[in-house]
Amino acid sequence: MSRADKIREAFAGSHGAHWHSTDAYSRAVWLGAGLVAAGMFLHQVELVLFGVPLVLSVLITNKPKGTPTVSVRPVPRGEGAGVVHTVAHVDGADAELAVVKLPGGPKVVPVHSPDLPVEIRRDAWGPGVDVRLDHLFAGPDGMHVYGPIVGTEHVRTILPPVEHHPAGPLPPRPAGLVGIHRSPRAGDSTELRDIRAFQPGDRLKRIDWRVTTRTGTVHVRERHAEADAEIVLALDTRTDLSAKVAEWSSPHHGATTRPGGSLDRAVRRAASMAAGYLRQGDRVALMDLSRPQLNVRSGVGRRHLMRIRTQLVVCVQAAGWASRVALRKLPHGSVVVLLSPFLDDEIAELAVQTRKHGHVVLAINTLPLPLEPDEETPWGEVAAELIAAEHRLRLRRMAEHGVAVTTEC
């Protein structure tokens, strides 16, 4: 065994998942025995009396055995954001004390205490660790310890929240004659489209008797058809920007996205729009502009909403800069909802090209405005103003090409 291995073994022996003695044990043994021996040989009874408690504290305690554990009752699936409660069970074996690092701070409890309440805070959507209870068990007088042990991570994924808002009228998808949106075609809805002369094949119940009487020729009422719409939610996940320009180049820790940032706003808006349109029976698809392999095909129903919300989390996890953005295999006649901070010309060009291909494009600006300049540099205010001016110009250009632009998310 090499010297490095010996050092490594000695280091590993002083911690980890087994019972091992502490400095207190060594102190009690060596200092206690030393004081007693010194007192005897130096004829100093005080030294003996000071050493006796240390020796006794070693003699009346045993080295604990067994494998103590701390387990957490899993939180039921489907619990959303907010505060969730569960309990931790401490099985201490021969230990006397358990030091458990709870979310509210570490706590020392006797090992035979009842289950510990654990409060879990879920502040943000996305993947994360619910709780990890690191722990350590101590034997009598802290002379032997078991651990410290890194607890098992209980991970969870919170889906983006859905804000209920009414889905607006949409241009219908030409194919299909079901849905709630008015189609340019004639159909069977209640909304009047035209009154025209009777043609062979028209149903008799469509005859408008009032016009027929007035004109002397048979006329029929023609109504609009109702068709479903195809919505494509196109998400720009290349950047995640907050209102503070100074934070743009630094990573954000502690949550999947910056709270209130462009990506957070885009995902929340996409989830809410998907819920709104799926509720009224429309078909909704999800596209990641820079990672087409993460796209979700169009579909309907509640399960499809869950699929989209889950995929939104996946898209955000894979978020990062990409040089190219693309919208591939857009269904004919679909409505494209582009959620982006629109900070580069590439995305604006994509919106314009999509509009030129005949799709209705709704551009939702997710950049938090107004921008807060970097105060640490004298050029911060100028830079922020320049970015904002370019951004305004980009949105105006898109609007001029027929893209419906919303400046606020």
Partner: protein
């Protein structure tokens, strides 16, 4: 738990200061107490206990004077609080029930220690006590064997 170390070391410092002519022992004990409170898992507690024990042993006065009798539980308490503080992180909530077993054990150990002190008070002292010392060592060996080897 760090505060408990300081409180346990307080009587140690006061007794040594009272028995010493200078402020030196007080400064040394204060420094060692600070080291112990900051790093309870270090050699600080051992140095504090060792220094106080030898300072008292080689001080003037009767071997079983009041200062020694107060020092016996105080040094044991320094050892105990340091041992617990070494395994408990700073700013940890400590349930009172978790200290019940250490407190009970502390009381038992102190009862035995004072019994030993009482025995020492009645044992004759002087230059011709070789037989008593021999008997004492033999008794200590038997006690250790009984406890350590569980005979």
């Amino acid at each position: 738990m760090r505060l408990a170390i300081v409180l346990a070391a307080l009587p140690v410092a006061l007794i040594l200061h009272r028995e010493a002519d200078s402020i030196g022992p007080l400064v040394i004990v204060a420094a060692l107490t600070a080291v112990t409170a900051v790093m309870p898992g270090s050699a600080g507690p051992a140095l504090l206990i060792g220094y106080a024990a030898f300072a008292m042993a080689f001080g003037d006065g009767h071997p079983l004077r009041l200062g020694v009798l107060i020092m016996i539980p105080a040094l044991h308490l320094v050892h105990l609080t340091s041992a617990l503080a070494a395994v408990v992180p700073v700013k940890t909530k400590i349930e009172a029930a978790s200290l019940k077993a250490p407190a009970r054990r502390f009381a038992i150990v102190q009862a035995i220690s004072f019994a030993v002190a009482g025995f020492a008070a009645i044992v004759p002292s002087g230059p011709d006590i070789g037989l008593v010392e021999l008997l004492g060592l033999g008794a200590l060996t038997v006690v250790i064997m009984v406890f350590a080897l569980r005979i």
